[in-house]
């Protein structure tokens, strides 16, 4: 596994030059956009003045129409120029290709990157982590490949559902609510199993009251299971269809590994084991693997973040020892 200091060298040797080029393109894009927006803002009072000067003697109504038409033409022209001249159409895809894909390949040459694909909705549903079905499901930045003996794939996804409410005037309004936004990771687990075991963050903590509420779970058919490791129980709640299988998967060693993995990383982590696959959903508020337009991108601290996000997902394989294939599953 690549370390941060190795990444720093890679950044200086390979990424920096590309980033400086991209940054120049980004600056040009931002400058042109600002220029056009300024001109568009100035055009409105300017067209008013023109209409006042040229339109002397005409009726007020005609002058207002003339002003509106003139402003409309001016603003539309501005928008067209903005998309044709100011927008750099390939900037986004170049950024993904030149930066994100390179970082992915740097983390492991065995991994492939596809900026437009994402972990599909079936995987999201099959994971049984989120019970609510999504009305809108999107994503990008799929990374996939085989790390030693373990097949993995992950991407950024966003799943949302829609609600409609009617107010006292009879007006209906629609609202989108996020079910999950962040990194969704799937790996081939090293043991065979047929049922589902879900490991969720323990939001309620310890004690009889927390236990009582953790036990009640109306939305899922899996039953609450309390495992032996107190540190693990402090961090996670486990629901499973099969007592024995849950313990077969969550061996004392894996519980320790999960606990220490959780302690190293702040964001909430949802884990499940379904039909010999491991699913890990890591929730993020920010967008992942996206370029920033309004600030400098040739900045080590920012690029480091992309590396760390990819590294975190890939490190699951090592942290949970998934390449340890000593059971019948190859």
């Amino acid at each position: 596994m690549k370390t941060l200091s190795e990444f720093e060298i890679f950044y200086r040797n390979e990424l920096n030059a590309v980033l400086i080029d991209l940054d120049a393109r980004r600056r040009r894009m931002v400058k042109r956009t600002f220029l056009i927006i300024t001109l568009m803002c100035l055009f409105v009072p300017f067209s008013y003045i023109i209409v006042q000067i040229l339109g002397e003697g005409f009726e007020d109504e005609t002058r207002i129409y003339a002003f509106l038409i003139l402003s409309f033409i001016g603003l539309s022209a501005g928008l067209i120029i903005m998309t044709k001249w100011a927008r750099d159409k390939t900037f986004y895809s170049d950024f993904k290709k030149e930066i994100i894909e390179r970082i992915v390949k740097f983390v492991s040459p065995e991994l492939n990157y596809d900026g437009k694909s994402y972990v599909n909705y079936d995987s999201f549903r099959n994971s049984r982590i989120f019970m609510k079905s999504a009305d809108r499901y999107r994503g990008d930045d799929l990374v996939h490949g085989m790390l030693d003996k373990t097949k993995i794939w992950f991407s950024e996804i966003k799943a949302e559902y829609e609600t409609t409410s009617t107010d006292s005037d009879g007006k209906t309004s629609k609202k989108w609510h996020t079910i999950f936004k962040g990194l969704f990771f799937v790996a081939d687990f090293n043991k065979h199993f047929n049922t589902s075991t879900v490991v969720l963050p323990n939001r309620l903590g310890k004690g009889p009251l927390a236990n009582f509420f953790n036990k009640i779970n109306l939305t899922r058919k899996e039953k609450h299971i309390s495992l032996e490791d107190p540190d693990f129980n402090k961090q996670f709640v486990v629901y499973s269809m099969d007592q024995v299988e849950a313990r077969y998967i969550l061996s004392p060693a894996l519980m320790q590994r999960l606990t220490s993995f959780k302690q190293k990383h702040k964001p909430p982590m949802y884990i499940s084991f379904v039909n010999s696959l491991l699913y890990v959903a890591i929730a993020y508020k920010r967008d992942l693997f996206e370029p920033r337009y309004l600030s400098k991108i040739a900045d080590y601290q920012k690029i480091k973040q992309y590396f760390e996000d990819i590294h975190l997902a890939v490190s699951i394989v090592e942290e949970l020892n998934l390449n340890n294939r000593i059971w019948t599953k190859e």
């Binding site: 495992l227 024995v244 000593i326 059971w327």
Partner: protein
């Protein structure tokens, strides 16, 4: 009806209701632990089924250990006979674990055997069964802990005493099993 009669009836029906609830809870917990024990049994049986394979694949090489192989085959048929009590099962199971652990360590002396595909596959199956067995023991221990808690805690301990619910023993991880874990790490 005087107030005192009403109070007595109320208290009596409350006590009756309580005892029904607690009794049912104790029965449920006892059944859960028995069920968990049955799953250990099922896993043990799975392991016993691997013994003939193990013996068949190692006996060609391991002539010095033929005594151990014979013992383990004999123990296996005794375990499969189905006439043993729970305690006997546990102690026989421990003996088998120890004997199997011994064989696995002895395999280290036969590099040819250790490298054979057949044996590697068998070892993977054994690891899997061991891990499942340990999972079912942990499930059993957790079910028994729940049951024992109810038997010992107030007020259910009163009813447990009345109805004859006794504490159950937890499965202890034996020394032989700890050795099995070492064998697993040797395999890496």
């Amino acid at each position: 009806m005087s107030t005192s009669v009403i109070v007595i009836i109320a208290v009596a029906s409350f006590l009756l209701l309580m005892s029904i609830i607690i009794y049912n809870k104790l029965v449920r917990l006892r059944n859960e632990s028995e069920n968990a024990f049955a799953s250990i049994d099922a896993m043990s049986k799975k392991r016993y089924d691997l013994i003939p394979n193990l013996v068949a694949s190692v006996q060609k090489y391991m002539e010095h250990e033929s005594g151990t192989l014979k013992d383990i085959t004999e123990m296996r048929s005794r375990a499969a006979s189905g006439t043993l009590s729970d305690d006997e099962k546990v102690s026989l199971d421990n003996k088998i674990s120890k004997a199997m652990g011994g064989i696995m360590i002895a395999v280290e002396n036969y590099p040819e055997l250790k490298a054979s595909d057949n044996f590697v596959q068998l070892q993977r199956s054994l690891n899997e069964v061991e891990e499942q067995l340990s999972a079912s023991r942990r499930a059993y221990n957790s079910a028994v802990t729940n049951y024992n808690n109810s038997v010992q805690m107030f007020p259910s301990n009163i009813f447990a005493g009345l109805f004859g619910f006794r504490q159950k023993q937890l499965f202890e991880i034996s020394e032989a099993e700890r050795q099995n874990v070492n064998v697993k790490s040797l395999f890496n």
